[in-house]
């Protein structure tokens, strides 16, 4: 019964489609050759196969056009599908000009299908012979990401290797970062002046790695704060960050041996609204006059509003963000800025833990690879284009393939 209904529906659909096609104008944007007649043309060959690298439920259909598209009455290709288990057929799509493939996403992995493609010419359907039977399936690995996997494994492997070797006691050299001494200096100054510290961990929630990086730096700062008994004020824009920041500061106070001095209200939620949060932070700055302001995390347009207000009250300001668009404002208005990657590196530096420092060494391997690839790529292209070198061309193409991400 259901099948009958389907067939009826298909008939209605096709006939309405044909009606539409019959009233289509006959010209198109493509210039046409002197019209050959459709009988001169060979058959359309159709291939259907499971779409690769997906979660199933999709079959790709491809066909060759022996020249129908250049006929004057051509209106498109009709993709026609037959479910070989139930025996039902339906039309799936009329494709636009210039298209030779169609991705049918309305199939079930439990059925098998066969496809035909018809050229629609002057209201006629010139049907191809059906394709082989095909069944869609799920894949366990996205083949397009092979190079991502390989390069990712190399870099992760490097990070883990250096972490392990640091654990075993190998001495690793890392240069110092200018902004980091400033952090201690700022905390020291706040202590001397008896004024509080303001800490803002960006305005994103816990689903941003920058927020987490900001919180780990907070961990180190809070330890110093706890030791010197400086006051810290941390307004937050997201409640989850509030919970995480409280854990972080509490841990620092416990480590410093002063759990009684910890108070939940050091970290307080204000509002989820970006500019409402800024209004409140600005208010806190001009009223409490913190001696040091830290802006470490993900920031947007509010970066400069906060940094300029902080500047006007004469606070030492240390900022760090991996938002490329906001870096200029922090660089212009703050005393020290951790630029991009330095934000992520800072917590490792501050912890002083060898394992953490090892992970930075691993990231350096990544940078070395990036530089080598860029330079090799450029040299290879230059030689390939200047001397027509086959091997250099091969290198060039390999690099292109490696780093194309879809």
């Amino acid at each position: 019964m259901l099948a009958l209904l389907r067939i009826a529906k298909s008939i209605v659909f096709i006939s309405s489609l044909l009606f539409v096609i019959s009233i289509l104008p006959t010209h198109s944007v493509y210039s046409r050759d002197t019209s050959p007649s459709s009988s001169d043309l060979g058959p359309i060959t159709v291939r259907a196969f499971d779409t690769d690298n997906d979660a199933g439920g999709s079959i790709t259909v491809e066909w060759d056009d022996p020249g129908y598209e250049r006929l004057s009455g051509f209106a498109g290709f009709l993709v026609w599908r037959t479910n070989t288990l139930t025996g039902t057929s339906d039309s799936v799509e009329v494709t636009p000009f210039g298209t030779r493939t169609y991705d049918d996403r309305s199939v079930s992995d439990d059925s098998t299908y066969s496809y035909s493609v018809a050229a629609l010419v002057n209201g006629e359907r010139l049907m191809s012979t059906p394709s082989m039977q095909v069944r869609s399936s799920k894949q366990w690995f996205d083949g397009r990401l092979t190079w991502v996997l390989i390069l990712g494994l190399i870099i992760c492997g490097a990070v883990i290797y250096f972490i392990e070797s640091a654990k075993r006691g190998t001495k690793l050299f890392l240069r110092r970062i200018a902004g980091l001494e400033a952090i201690d200096e700022a905390v020291g100054r706040a202590t001397e002046m008896g004024r509080p510290i303001l800490f803002v961990a960006g305005i994103q929630d816990m689903d941003d790695v920058q927020t987490i990086a900001g919180l780990t730096i907070l961990g180190s700062i809070a330890r110093t704060v706890a030791e010197y008994d400086t006051k810290i004020n941390m307004p937050v824009r997201a409640s989850l960050v509030m919970t995480a920041a409280r854990e972080t500061i509490k841990h620092a106070y416990v480590t410093a041996g002063r759990p009684d001095a910890y108070n939940d209200d050091m970290v307080h939620y204000v509002t989820d609204e970006q500019f409402g949060f800024v209004a409140a932070v600005d208010g806190i700055m001009v009223r409490e006059r913190p001696a040091a302001c830290f802006f470490l995390g993900a920031f947007f347009a509010e970066s400069l509003i906060m940094a300029e207000t902080g500047n006007s009250i004469g606070a030492i300001q240390v900022a760090g963000t991996a938002m490329p668009a906001q870096l200029p404002f922090f660089v212009a208005a703050c005393d020290y800025t951790l630029i991009g990657e330095e934000l992520f590196a800072a917590s490792a530096y501050l912890s002083g833990e060898p394992r953490q420092l090892g992970s930075l060494k691993g990231a350096d391997v990544g940078k070395a690879i990036a530089m080598i690839v860029i330079l090799v790529g450029v040299i290879a292209t230059t030689i390939a284009s200047a001397w027509n070198s086959e091997s250099m061309l091969w290198i060039e193409n390999l690099l292109r393939q490696m780093f194309s991400t879809g």
Binding site: V20, P25, H27, S28, V29, Y30, G76, P96, F97, G98
Partner: protein, 328 residues
């Protein structure tokens, strides 16, 4: 004492605003005088700085406020130079004979409206004035609403009210369709397939303007207002590259640089970028609108910022010279 001052100034301001004529327009001569006074004030700040009196940030704020407010009352025209990319856009539109069908794709939402709405207004006004038939659509959900706002506004213009453009005959709004660039691709074979009904649920076939509009071959020009993805890049890659239709665009200032490559390869027929693109477009089409009222304040405030950068550097030079003298 200080407290009373600010209250007094506030009271004086309220009285002044209350007795001012509305709307307030100052004569061209007075405008020039105000501009000169502003300039003199800046020079004075420069002199003060060179003498070693560093000014505070409130003075900077005051100048910014003044440079953004005063030009609103001024009554003199800033000559606007139309950039080549806006000129290309205008020329393409000017070449269209009356009755040409233009597809207007509104691919932005309210946050980008300050920059793109003036462009939309100028475009709609131009189209109605020159009897171009406009087919509106959006790849962004809120785009078609922005188009309607623009039409409502433009219909208030006296000369356009006189023309009395009719919905369905002179313009039509097809609404939003999800699917990003695939919408453009499938419009290549059939507009009707992608937009079976317009935004008011009228059938495609019942709209007179759409009679005979099947695909891009029936469209004479595409104007795309865009603030991101999907937008101008997708229109160029599909509508221009595959279907050979001409596409011109208005972009936000932030997005404009990313489509410049298409302009130099002549795939994109003209580009209006950001607020300055908007006022240049108004200038080219000779119909000053909202963007044109922003030219003066924008230019003034920009000049003030640049002036303060120069002043800041003058202060630096002076302090260098001082410290050198000190050493000697």
């Amino acid at each position: 004492m200080n407290k009373y001052y600010s209250w007094l100034i506030l009271a004086a301001l309220i009285i002044v605003v209350a007795i001012l004529p509305k709307p307030l327009v100052i004569s061209p001569t007075a405008s020039v005088i105000v501009t000169i006074l502003l300039g003199i004030a800046l020079v004075w700040v420069l002199v003060l700085t060179i003498r070693g009196h560093l000014i505070g940030r409130r003075v900077v704020f005051l100048f910014i406020g003044a440079s953004l407010t005063l030009p609103f009352f001024m009554n003199f025209e800033m000559p606007i130079k139309v950039s080549p990319e806006v000129k290309i856009l205008y020329d393409a539109l000017a070449k269209l004979p009356p009755g040409s069908k233009v597809l207007a794709a509104f691919d932005y939402d309210p946050p980008s409206a300050p920059e793109l709405q003036p462009q939309a207004d100028a475009f709609m006004a131009y189209a109605f004035k020159h009897d171009l038939k406009v087919i509106i659509m959006g790849l962004w959900p809120q785009g078609p609403q922005q188009a309607n706002m623009s039409i409502d506004k433009v219909l208030q213009y006296p000369e356009i009210r006189a023309k009395n453009p009719k919905y369905g005959v002179d313009y039509v709004n097809l609404g939003f369709q999800s699917g990003n660039e695939f919408v453009i691709q499938r419009m290549g074979s059939s507009f009707r397939g992608m937009f079976p009904r317009d935004i008011y649920n009228t059938d495609y076939d019942k709209i007179p303007l759409l009679n005979g509009v099947e695909n891009f071959s029936n469209i004479d020009f595409v104007f795309n207002l865009s603030s991101g993805y999907p937008g101008t890049v997708e229109w160029v890659q599909i509508a221009v590259d595959r279907y050979g239709v001409k596409v011109g665009a208005g972009n936000t200032a932030v997005q404009a640089p990313s489509v410049y490559p298409y302009l130099s390869s002549r795939k994109l027929t003209g580009l209006a970028g950001g607020m300055s693109g908007a006022w240049q477009f108004e200038q080219a089409t000779q119909q000053p609108g909202k963007a044109s009222t922003y030219v003066l304040p924008q230019t003034f405030s920009h000049t003030v910022v640049i002036a303060f950068i120069i002043i800041g550097n003058a202060a630096l030079m002076v302090s260098y010279r001082r410290s050198k003298r000190g050493e000697a």
